[in-house]
Every structure is written in C-alpha cells, then in structure tokens.
C-alpha cells in the first residue's frame, strides 16, 4: 500500500515542478541578482587588480609611489586597446566628478609611451593624478563589496574622513521621492476605496441583469490596454482637451484660464486611480456578494435605520474585501511606472521612474538595485504593520 501512495505523491509533487521552475527563473533569480548587484560591484576590482592591491598598502595622505603609477599605466593599456576602459572610467567618475576624462585622457596620452618616470608621465597626462582625491576615488570604486549604493539611495554620503553624513537639502533626491511615492499611493488607495465601495455595493445588490451590465462596465476598461487608457487620459485632460473644452464651453473657466490637469500630479492621480480602480472593486464585489441581504433585513426588522444597519452589520462584514482591495491597490501603485511616466510630467514622477532612469539611461544598476531593495523593504514593513492592524487572515479575495 505504501509504495503506490508515495509514487502518487511524487507524481503530484512533480506536477508542481514546472511552476516552481517558472517562479525560480522569473522571480527568485532576478530578485536575487538585484539584491546582489546592490552591494556587489566587481567591475573596477576585476579591471585594475594590481593597482588596487598597491593602493590598499597606500596610506592615503600623500601621492602614491612611482611603482603604483607604473602599475596603473600598465593596467590601463590593455583596457584601452580592448575599448573596455569606458565602463571603468564611468564607475570611478561616479565617486569623483571629472575622473572619467582623467582616466580616458591618461590612457590616450600613454599609448605607446615608455617613459623613465611613470609618475611624471601620468601626472603630465592629467594633473589630477597629482592629488590624493583621484587615487582615493579609484580605491573606493575598487571595493568589491560596497554599501555606497544604499548610502546614495538614502541621500547619505561619506565625508573625506569616511564618516556617513546627510546630503545637503538641495541634493536630497531619493528620500523625498520615496515619501512622495508612499503618499501618492496612499491617496490613490483612499480615492479608489471611496469611489469603488459604492460601485461594488451596487453591483453586488442589483438584479442579475443590471449587475452583469455594471460588472461589464468595470471589466471592459480593466481588459483594455494600459497604454490606451493612459493616453486616453491625455486626450481628455490636456490643455486643449475634452474636459477643458467642456468647462470653457460651459463658462466655468475662461479660455485663458484652462486648467493644468495633465503632466502634473493631478494627471498621475486621476489616471492611476482609473487604472487601479478595478483592483479595488473586484475584491470588494466578491466579498459583498457573499454577504446575505438577510442580515440587513434582520437589522431593520429589529429597528435599525439603514445607516445603523450598514455601519454595524454590513461594513464589518465587507472589511475583508476592503482590506484585500486596499492592499492590492496600494502595492500596485507603489511600483507603478508607465502611467506616471506618461502623464506625470515634471511633478508627477514617482520613485519607479528614477529606478528606470538608472536602469536605462545612466546604467547605474547598483543604485537602481539599491533603490529597488529599499522600496521592497518599505512595502514589506508596511505589509507587516498592516497585518498587525488588520490581520491578513481576515483578508479575502472572494
């Protein structure tokens, strides 16, 4: 008896293997590589191993020895020939603005050179090598394991003696943006709840024909491409758009007083609310449909007004749906990228847009990864708080 059972079990387990492999390849591996990238940066360390070894022995308070200059020059040469120096120079430049052309120019000037004094030749190629700052930048860029992306992502920096200090207010970028992202997500969640709750109530309590029609009205936009919906909002909200035209025609505003409704925070809020609203309505509807109308009838037969019945009987029963919808909308909006990128303009950008900038434009993947990890941690800690307050076991999707 035991053998067929265990082989059946094994077969059942084997059926989940494709899914496990899928999750591993598409979720765990990229997440893991992102985590690693945020603190592991081997590029410079691999490119200039001997220079870095020499610099580790260096005291940092005076210009390094002739030997270090010679090692640097010999290590730059093959990188220059293979056109691999650009990536090294970019990384050092992030720690000390100007090092990019210092390194590139030095390599160019030293092509084919065999000087007596490497020190003089290198400093002649670029005088920056005569200062400690350049060498310190190379040494720091060569740290294989580093927390500098996290410092950067939290608007912190190191002063020359290595202490962690806060950036000056006008240089703070990421913490204000993260706070704004959280605030916007919260606002969108609240708006979605206020708009979605009555709709879900209506769908759950209407006659089947009406409720099917209403549900379709929720689902058709839900099935429509995100890009189509977002660009439709541009058509509606822009300066010469439908909404402004109607307001002008109705005499609410003058032709020169057209409202700025898109390419700002208003555009982001409106478009994201519309895009995410089904994620609030559908869980709410699923929970509300299971609330028997008998309860409200019982409440009113016991003398409760509709409001009393709603507050004391219906609302508590719909809470699992509220919890599920809110969590879904909040978490989705925290990582939202395409809608703010299209309608957010200058002031409606969120942290995900900055992550995309570092992924695609600056190619500072370490910083992008650190920002992603911080965002992930923020979501996870909010989730824990939420679980404490609401209780995840009370959440129901249907």
């Amino acid at each position: 008896m035991a053998r067929p059972l265990s082989s059946a079990r094994f077969r059942a387990a084997a059926l989940t293997l494709p899914l496990l492999a899928f999750v591993g390849v598409t979720f765990i591996a990229p997440l893991g590589s992102m985590l690693v990238r945020s603190f592991y940066e081997p590029h410079v360390a691999d490119a200039l191993p001997r220079t870095l070894a020499a610099l580790r022995a260096w005291d940092g308070s005076s210009v390094p020895s002739e030997d270090t200059f010679r090692i640097l020059a010999t290590e730059l040469r093959p990188l220059d020939q293979q056109r691999k120096l650009g990536g090294v120079a970019t990384r050092v430049n992030r720690l000390e603005g100007g090092m990019r052309s210092t390194i590139m120019d030095t390599a160019r000037a030293l092509r084919g050179a065999e000087p007596d004094s490497w020190r003089e030749a290198v400093i002649a190629a670029d005088p920056a090598w005569g200062e400690e700052a350049a060498w310190l930048a190379v040494r720091r860029a060569g740290e294989r394991y580093t927390i500098r992306h996290y410092l950067n992502a939290l608007d912190l920096d190191r002063d020359p003696s290595g202490n962690i200090v806060a950036q000056s207010p006008e240089r703070r970028i990421y913490v204000p943006l993260l706070l704004r992202t959280l605030g916007v997500s919260l606002a969108i969640t609240v708006i979605c709840l206020i708009l979605g709750y009555p709709v879900a109530y209506l769908i759950a309590n209407a006659s089947p024909a009406k409720s099917n029609l209403l549900l379709l009205l929720v689902l058709v936009p839900f099935w429509t491409s995100l890009l189509v919906r977002t660009t439709s909002w541009i058509v509606l909200l822009q300066n010469q758009g439908v909404v402004n035209d109607l307001l002008v025609a109705a005499g609410v505003i003058g032709d020169d007083g057209r409202l700025a409704l898109v390419y700002n925070m208003v555009g982001t809020l409106v478009a994201m609310t519309q895009v995410l609203l089904p994620f609030m309505i559908l869980p709410l509807y699923a929970v509300m449909r299971s609330i028997s109308p008998m309860y409200l009838r019982a409440a009113s037969s016991l003398g409760a007004t509709f409001l009393q019945g709603f507050v004391r009987v219906y609302w508590p029963q719909s809470l699992p749906g509220v919890a599920a919808g809110s969590l879904l909308v909040f978490i989705l909006s925290i990582g939202y990228y395409i809608t703010p990128a299209l309608v957010g303009g200058r002031t409606g950008q969120l942290i995900s847009n900055m992550i995309a900038y570092h992924m695609q434009e600056s190619l500072n993947w370490g910083l992008a990864a650190a920002l992603g990890v911080i965002l992930l941690l923020a979501v996870m800690s909010l989730y824990l708080v939420y679980n404490r307050l609401v209780g995840i076991e009370r959440m129901r999707l249907s």
């Binding site: 430049n93 992030r94 603005g97 549900l215 002031t347 900038y357």
Partner: protein
C-alpha cells in the same frame, strides 16, 4: 465573478482567422527585421531631418543605390546601448550630440573611425587639419555646428522686446511662460551667464558645488513659468501657438519657421550655446560597409555645406566656410543666420562636451530631483 458569463470557446471558424492574422503579423515582423537592402540612419526629426534628407540621404542614395531608412530620436545613448548590448543592431548611423559621440566611443558603442580615413578638403588638406580643433571624436564623421539660443514670437510683445540672456530670466520685465529643453545641458550654462558669469568662466564655476547651486537658484527664479520640451520640433510650435512667449530652441528650427513658414520669430543670439553634432556608426552593425560609405559621403565638405543650404547649421570644416551661400529653396542669404556669424558671437559659449561627459550623470540626477520638487 465570471460565473454568469460562462467559459465560451473561440469558434473554430474564428480560430482560422486568428491563425492567419498571427501569421501575417509574424511575417510582417520578419519582413521588417530582414530588410537589409539599405541602411537605417537616425536623425532628429522635423526640419533638421528634412534638411538632411535633401542634402545627404537623397544624394547618397542617388550616388550609391543604397536606400536610406530614416528614424528619429531625441538624443542620448540609451537606445544605442540597448541595441549593442543585446546584439540586435538595427540602427546603422546615428546623428549624435558631440558629448554622446565621445562617451559612446569610449564605451565601445560606436565603430572607431580614423580621422585620416575621412575625405580630405577639395584643395587636398587632410581631414585632420580641415576639421576645427576638437570637433571630431575617435568614432565620428560628418558634423555641423548648431546652436541653442532663445527665440521669441514678435506678436507676443507690444512694447519692449527681449534682447539679452538676462531678459530670458527676467519675469518682472517680460512676464509669461518660457520653453526650455528638459535636460540640464545648456540650461545651467545659460542660467550662469544670465547671473553675470563671463562665458569663459562658466564651466569653471559649474565645476564647483557652489556654482551648481548658483545655477539652480537662477533656474528657480523662472521654474514656475517654464514649459519643458524634449523634441527639437516643439519650440517653434509652442512659439507659433503662443503657448510660450519665448523658448530656447535649436537655431536651425527657428530659422526654418522664419523662412519657410514666415513666422514672426526673432532669435536672441546673446548667450547662445554653440555645439556640434557628429554622425557615427553603431558598433556591430551587420551593414558596416554601407554605413561606412554613408559616413564618408556625409563627411565630404560639399555634403556638410549642403546641409547649410536647407537649415542654418554651419560646417565644422574650415574649407566648408566659404561654401556657405543661400537657402536652396528661398534664396535667403544664410550667412547672418548661421550661429558662427561674427555678429552673433558677441556673447556665445562653446558647449564643453568633455566636461559634460564627466558631469552629465550627476547633474541629470540633480536636475530630475530639482524638476520634481
């Protein structure tokens, strides 16, 4: 929730249609992916691209029989980088801002072109001596001078009109919205010039943290009134619609709006930032030979000068300067419209592309944060 809609299958008849549609779509993708007879040249859209079509692409196709597919972009290396890194290069030649040409070359994103391979001047002077100093990178060819200056619509001003770079930043004297490109380049330099920094000290000041703060403080004074543009074709449009009273713009775009469309625009050359572009070949293109042929064609003095017969961009080769003549379609004398005309150079800054390769990342980050505040 889908219970009452049921789980309907797609009817067999429709499945056939869908399959056919997929096949057609797949063929379409395959077809565009394999159209290798010809090269793809990426330019900047609008009137500059139109000029390049007439001055470069059409004569090149006529001479060599190689078709030129034209695509547009708004600058930057991101798309080139993506193509090179995924090994799926479908852009062959790209018209780049000089800083991007230098950076892309250093990072191996562009094919190296020896300056001595480029065609010599008509009198035999080698290209190395014919190009103005610092206007070629290790990877580029072609190239024209252009300028970012600000322009205004004369219809927007009844009384006094702006005439200096200070006026652009003076909301009290000239109220109204301003257009600026949504990048830190040029804007920071203009802010410092308007704040009284002499042109020759702009980059030295900008190299200090205090200088950067100072430039951003100056930009702060007009930030609320700025409309940000991205494509070069936008500023003439915004000026024509009087959406802004003045806007920074590429001078050639304004010139074309003035001359071809008769728009009442005036360029204020005071505080202009001169820059030059370069055409370069994307590394690893499968159409290297044709791309090289195009680059050599585009680097001829006659080709560079021909662009200047359609748009007010002047040659970066000495021997091209004497070839500046009239507009090919209207006969307008091009000399006074060129950014390099002596009367336009009273306060002009030459964009320091190498400085920007060092500071672009840091300042773009700071600029985005500043924009979002």
């Amino acid at each position: 929730m889908m219970r009452n809609r049921g789980d309907r299958k797609v009817p067999a008849r429709n499945q056939g249609t869908i399959r056919l549609a997929l096949l057609v779509a797949a063929f379409g993708i395959w077809n565009t992916g394999c159209s290798s007879e010809g090269i793809t040249v990426v330019s900047w859209g609008g009137s500059y691209e139109a000029a390049a079509r007439k001055a470069l692409f059409e004569p090149f196709s006529a001479e060599t029989g190689i078709t030129v597919h034209v695509e547009s972009y708004n600058g930057g290396l991101a798309q080139i980088r993506a193509q090179v890194e995924t090994g799926n290069v479908h852009w062959d030649v790209v018209d780049l801002e000089f800083a991007d040409a230098v950076k892309g070359c250093d990072e191996g994103l562009l094919e190296v072109i020896d300056i001595d391979e480029l065609p010599p001047a008509p009198d035999g002077t080698p290209a190395r001596d014919d190009y103005f100093a610092g206007t070629y990178s290790d990877c580029g060819g072609g190239a024209v001078y252009y300028s970012t200056a600000y322009a205004y619509n004369r219809d927007s001003f009844t009384g006094e009109r702006p005439s200096t770079i200070q006026d652009f930043f003076d909301l009290a004297k000239f109220p109204g919205r301003r257009g600026m490109r949504r990048v830190p380049f040029v804007n920071l330099e203009m802010a410092l010039m308007a704040d009284g920094v002499p042109t020759e000290e702009v980059y030295a000041v900008l190299s200090t943290p205090e200088g950067v703060d100072r430039a951003f403080r100056k930009l702060d004074t007009i930030k609320a009134e700025v409309v940000w543009w991205e494509a070069g074709a936008q500023p003439p449009q915004m000026l024509a619609d009087q959406e802004v009273v003045m806007s920074t713009a590429y001078n050639g775009r304004i010139f074309n709006a003035q001359v071809l469309e008769g728009q009442p625009f005036t360029i204020v050359w005071d505080g202009q930032v001169l820059d030059y572009g370069q055409a370069a070949i994307v590394a690893g293109t499968p159409r290297l030979e044709a791309a090289k042929q195009f680059l050599m064609f585009a680097s001829r003095v006659e080709s560079i000068a021909a662009i200047g017969r359609y748009i007010a961009y002047s040659p970066t080769r000495r021997s091209g300067m004497s070839l500046i003549s009239t507009h090919a379609e209207t006969g307008v004398d091009m000399r006074p419209h060129m950014p390099s005309a002596p009367e336009n150079l009273t306060r002009a800054l030459r964009n320091d592309a190498v400085w920007w390769t060092n500071h672009a990342e840091e300042l773009t980050e700071r600029f985005s944060a500043w924009l979002a505040r």
